[in-house]
């Protein structure tokens, strides 16, 4: 009798352990798959700050909770071949701090000549670089202060707004008028 109970207890312990082991294995695999998808295909990122003001975060409240910030779907398919075009909204690592990611609009591609606002300079974008600017030029830290950035810093292209629900929709391409010089 005693042997029977002990074996039962053992069975129970085994059951609990295998259940734990199973769920650990499952969550590990789920994590791997999620990480792969977010690295290679698409991920969702919140947008903080007002540098892209009319496009993202249109409400200019003083107490902006993180819940009311826009979330965007970041498409990473374009990274395979670095297929970007003028007017795309891109996510990139900050050139001065590799841990930060910024979101700005891509204005010029390699080889373009661009006119800098509030000055009469024109700049040629070097090979493999691009020019990014925020839509809200009054409060945006972008290529006007740190110059053209290497394309290698780009992390993806924002294509859809997915949160909050009333603002779900596509992010449209836009180009400011008269910035690129014809060549």
């Amino acid at each position: 009798m005693s042997s029977l109970t002990s074996s039962l207890c053992g069975n129970k312990g085994m059951g609990a352990r295998s259940f734990l082991w199973d769920s650990a294995k499952k969550s590990f695999t789920a994590g791997l798959i999620a990480l792969t998808i977010s690295d290679r295909y698409a991920s969702i990122a919140p947008v903080r700050g007002l540098s892209m003001h009319p496009t993202f975060n249109p409400r200019k409240g003083t107490s902006m909770g993180s819940l009311m910030d826009d979330c965007v779907l970041v498409d990473k398919f374009c990274l395979e071949k670095y297929k970007f075009s003028h007017g795309d909204v891109v996510v990139f690592r900050s050139p001065s701090n590799h841990k930060e990611k910024h979101i700005k609009r891509l204005i010029a591609m390699p080889g373009d000549w661009i006119r800098i606002p509030h000055s009469y300079d024109t700049v040629k974008i070097p090979e493999g670089h691009c020019w990014v600017e925020g839509d809200n030029s009054s409060s945006s830290l972008d290529s006007r202060s740190f110059g053209p950035i290497p394309l290698g810093l780009l992390q993806g292209k924002a294509t859809y707004i997915v949160w909050p629900p009333q603002r779900v929709g596509q992010v449209e391409k836009r180009m400011p008028e008269g910035r690129l010089l014809p060549y």
């Binding site: 791997l32 798959i33 990480l35 792969t36 690295d39 050139p95 841990k99 070097p126 290698g152």
Partner: protein, 169 residues
Amino acid sequence: MNGLRNLVKYKSIVKEAFDRTVIVAKFLCFLHVTNNYICTPALVYGPSMLPTLNLTGDLILAERISTRLGKVSPGDIVLVRSPENPRKIVTKRVMGMEGDSVTFLVDPKSTDRCQTITVPKGHVWIQGDNIYASNDSRHFGPIPYGLVQGKVFCRIWPPEGFGSLAQDV
């Protein structure tokens, strides 16, 4: 009756195929994560790292953990996404981190004019070991740290060169 039996057979085949696909997908995900977060093999060739790495093609291993944690120091060999062509990855040695001042020969082939610059915030200065045939920071300036992809720590091919490559300046 026959159709039902066929259906059952068909169903089991589909289930089998699905299971196999899931296993392959899981394996590929595992591969991707190891490759992107832990360590990656790379084939390097070209003259720019000549005394350290051969011309003909060495197979090296680069780890991604210390780059992610920001633990790269001068003297390390790193994999860098080229600022001139984002599809290309180049291998160079880190010569200076942010805030360091770096002295370099502008054009070692013709003159021995030196120039000293300070590396700006968030950037690194990279140079090839073969200063006569290397396209590096002397040409395109300091590069953002975000372009650094991994730190080379070991060579696995050719077999006579097998061994650690960490910190032998």
